[in-house]
Chain length 430, copies 2
Amino acid sequence: MRIITADSYLEEERNTTTLEQDNQNLDKTVLEIIQKVRQTGDQSLYDYTEAFDGVKLTELLVSEEEFTEAAELVDGNFINSLRQAKQNIEEFHQKQLEKSWFFHKSSGITLGQMITPIGRAGIYIPGGKAAYPSSVLMNVIPAKLAQVEEIAIVTPPQKDGKVNPYVLTAAREVGVDTVYKIGGAQAIAALAYGTETVSKVDKIVGPGNAFVARAKKWVFGDVAIDMIAGPSEICVAADGSAPTAYIAADLLSQAEHDERARTFFITNSTTLAEKVRNEMYIQLEMLERKDIIKASLQDFGRIIITKNEQETFDLINQIAPEHLELMMENASDKLPFVKNAGAIFLGNYSPEPLGDYFAGPNHTLPTSGTAAFSSPLGVYDFMKKSSIIQYSQEALLKASEPIIHLAETEGLTAHANAIYQRRDGKNAQK
Amino acid sequence: MRIITADSYLEEERNTTTLEQDNQNLDKTVLEIIQKVRQTGDQSLYDYTEAFDGVKLTELLVSEEEFTEAAELVDGNFINSLRQAKQNIEEFHQKQLEKSWFFHKSSGITLGQMITPIGRAGIYIPGGKAAYPSSVLMNVIPAKLAQVEEIAIVTPPQKDGKVNPYVLTAAREVGVDTVYKIGGAQAIAALAYGTETVSKVDKIVGPGNAFVARAKKWVFGDVAIDMIAGPSEICVAADGSAPTAYIAADLLSQAEHDERARTFFITNSTTLAEKVRNEMYIQLEMLERKDIIKASLQDFGRIIITKNEQETFDLINQIAPEHLELMMENASDKLPFVKNAGAIFLGNYSPEPLGDYFAGPNHTLPTSGTAAFSSPLGVYDFMKKSSIIQYSQEALLKASEPIIHLAETEGLTAHANAIYQRRDGKNAQK
């Protein structure tokens, strides 16, 4: 893991390609898959699952027996932990619920904003060998709270043709019965356009690999998507008050996600920088996924030395990290300096895994600097707004002059006519 | 304008291509433009402006003198109307401002959602011959209320190399000084990636032609966008109580936007359907833009006869119209049946132009059925959320078991290690 200055980090950044460029090379494959799914529906889903996941399925939908079987495979400890997490996630997201509002602007005028849930949501859960029951909770709970009527999960099957039992159990715990054994770009295409078996949805959310991310970009517009997720990232900013072992452990925890995970440690103490690096090498050796961690740290790990706190926060806002840990004295007093971050963890006892699994806020967060303009997944992702306008005859007549002026300035005379008809009533019929 | 049944409308719809498919044929040109702007910056902007807008510019930025000159060209009536509209738009959007919130979940635990503005917004305003000062208001005001620090407008120049004076005056009225004479895909690329003159923004909003819409899709992910706008549309649903002339005028006003604008009239009264069609032919003849209107109605106008009110609302929700006018008795009582619509106009005296220019709610609305999952442009488009998590040592230790369980279930042992380090402290150093 390299130790560099803030300036040299910024210079490095200027020379990297963007997420958009990185992914254009997938387009040929991804577009072909989308096209095929639109043309041949279910058949293409069976074919791609055989080709990519190595499984010949006879059914796409997970059966009731499979749910039952899964429930028998998971242990009680897991269920208890899952339920505690679920409760925390529900409590936090409940607070995101927004209400429709109306107001009477003046006599005869009512304006408002009506909030309604989307009709159908599709949730992508990564699969194969790994199990991500936490992603099931984080993606389904906000949709349920928004009162989305239909929720379907898609997830690639294991080699034995089954879905990971932890994922299935989590799905049942949050009340989702519709789980399809489909992964990759083909799953996104099926959700976006529908097939014989899979209903078209209004919005697709959830993390996935590069093919999934790219397919989401392509179907975006015909359907809503949550975000185009890049590799996961953490930024720990610490002063001398933070325990070295904690900093090291948190950086390592992020690096284990995958070889492209990005890890930043920012401090103005060179001593602390050295100590953290040494501690990372010690802890690393006892970690199962040390090969992934080493690769990730080598390519995408940076310890950045800043001149002062101002530079630290400038850099944080420039990186706009998915996860930001502030391990500083009086960390919560520093919040006003943070402009861009997906989730902010304050103090020495708020490590990222607390947020990944348990605390309540969502773990689906904007990556690759998109926290500069995006938000964590939330209840608001599953709701939409409609404006309401109601004028009385008198109120409209009073407003007629400026409307006609503006319409005529824009050369839209038929717009003006809609007002003239009501004001002058030449052709008004009943 | 054809009169058809709801069933035959739905059958027609199933056989049309999607917005996404329609636009893929622009990709070659659009991607080439984006690439060029990234490579050669300002120079490419001058070149494309010469090629596409027929103007050889010497400056991209509108000068102070040009603002002054514009102010002298516009009339007082326009300014007064603009200011009344501005006040209404500000009053409505003010109510969309959200507050950050925090709560103490239990002893030692603080969770929250912090809301901050995006840093820089770029606003596309269509140009050339037409003037859209109303779009300046509708796009800038929510950004200003969100306290976006830097706002830049891009708009294609007129043949004389100047920007429409109404657009410039509107920009000044809402406090935007940075206006670039750039249009098309090249303007979107400049905003997304920056050039020598144009600063890279965090989000691009505003309406544009097909090239602009497609370029927005391509840069999406590297930068946020509001939506991918398709042709504008209206859906008027009326019962026998609605004046024929008003319905006809409102349908015509939508059709004048462009040849691809979509116009729906839904009613269960065949008599009303016939009367409205006849009235449209009468009013049409006196309208300036009758050629556009005729073309639009012929290709994209539909009068749809439904069997009953239930079918009317099912159809509305299926179309998910950008603008919905309910000209029915007790129109506001019907609101609960509307699931999908960008803006809803209630009663006989709330015609669409009232919303386009004046009432206060935004006129940038989801088109082409995307109201099923998208919202009007609003203050929320210029803000983003960050989650806040702060646990005390005691609170974390109490939560340690379930976090470790869940992390280990997912095979992420370095995540578990971040908790172990804090609980068991084997390597904890200070």
